[in-house]
């Protein structure tokens, strides 16, 4: 199965920043308790709040908000955090579209019938190139052979 995923930095930051602040308060309290009141050691120890905050923030982000789309030529699965939120067979759907969400990001929509029930795949939260992934999904839904090119997009360094 191929995977589409991307670390969503703004969400990770929103989880991490309060924890960075909390750990900075905790470290500061310890420094006061141990009477370390100045000098580069204090700054160095306070800077430790960033890695601590980001490690715990990353743990929460991975368990709650990280999106991963797994797919092959017959099935797909959307995993959000530690839960599988959508799963299905490409063949169960009839139409494919790109839907622009409220933030202007394109996501994939699969229709079971024309104008009927649908599921949304949050491809804007992954490294997929929207139009190419839509073309790929459409070729699977309509039963044509998928194009050889992988829809994955190399994450920026």
């Amino acid at each position: 199965m191929e995977k589409l995923t991307k670390t969503q930095i703004p969400i990770l930051a929103s989880y991490s920043m309060p924890l960075v602040l909390l750990s900075a308060f905790a470290i500061n309290a310890l420094l006061v308790a141990f009477q370390i009141s100045g000098g580069p050691l204090r700054l160095l120890l306070l800077a430790g709040s960033f890695p601590i905050g980001f490690v715990f923030g990353r743990l929460i982000y991975t368990r709650r908000s990280h999106i991963e789309i797994q797919f092959d030529n017959s099935t797909f699965r959307v995993i959000k955090g530690s839960k599988e939120v959508v799963t299905g067979f490409w063949k169960s759907y009839r139409m494919v579209s790109l839907v622009i969400d409220q933030f202007g990001k394109p996501n994939l929509r699969l229709y079971e019938t024309k104008e009927g029930e649908h599921v949304d795949l949050p491809i804007s939260r992954t490294n997929a190139e929207p139009q190419r992934f839509r073309d790929y999904a459409q070729s699977l839904v309509t039963g044509q052979r998928p194009r050889g090119i992988s829809p994955q997009v190399a994450e920026a360094a």
């Binding site: 790109l98 622009i100 929207p130 459409q138 994955q152």
Partner: protein, 175 residues
């Protein structure tokens, strides 16, 4: 692997621009279909949306209080290297007019792409088209000629949809 715009077909480039919000000032297109088939006409792009954009906080409040909520659509036909005939244009116009009526659309855009030069009858037909609920445009990827219909919706294809930019047109055809 990013799509290189230089090698991308004109229709793909046009769609990319629309997805990135190219029509935002006039309408908010929110859903895009490819190879959308209606009867025996296949539209390379079918996009639908409304004149009230969603936005965030202030712009959303502004949209809700000031902008009318009309449904609009965009249709695009890619003729490729086949000859674009008046008959084909008429047929597509009829199909779009029917969809406009069925789906209660305020207006629709219909854009034709062709790899060949635009024949004079097509230029004449499109430039004389003046029904207010349908804007027509035809673009040739070989000669970079762009023709717009003689109505408000048609002219907006040039201004808002930036069709000439997609075509890289440096000489424009004016009504």
């Amino acid at each position: 692997m990013k799509s290189s715009s230089a090698n991308e077909p004109a229709v793909d480039q046009f769609e990319s621009r629309l997805i990135r919000g190219g029509t935002r000032l006039i309408a908010d297109l929110t859903e895009f279909f490819r190879d959308y088939r209606v009867d025996d006409t296949t539209f390379a792009i079918y996009a639908r949306g409304s004149t009230r954009n969603k936005g965030f906080l202030l712009s959303r409040f502004f949209a809700w209080t000031v902008l009318p909520n009309y449904s609009v659509s965009l249709f695009c036909v890619d003729e490729g290297s086949a000859l674009l005939t008046t008959e084909k244009v008429r047929k597509s116009v009829d199909t779009v007019a029917r969809i406009t009526k069925d789906e209660d659309l305020k207006w629709a855009w219909l854009v034709f792409f062709s790899n060949r030069d635009l024949p004079p009858p097509i230029v004449s037909f499109i430039s004389r088209y003046d029904k207010k609920e349908l804007g027509l445009a035809a673009a040739s990827t070989s000669s970079r000629q762009v023709v717009l219909s003689n109505n408000q919706v048609g002219r907006s294809i040039g201004r808002q949809l930036k069709l000439r930019k997609t075509e890289g047109s440096d000489h424009t055809w004016k009504n």
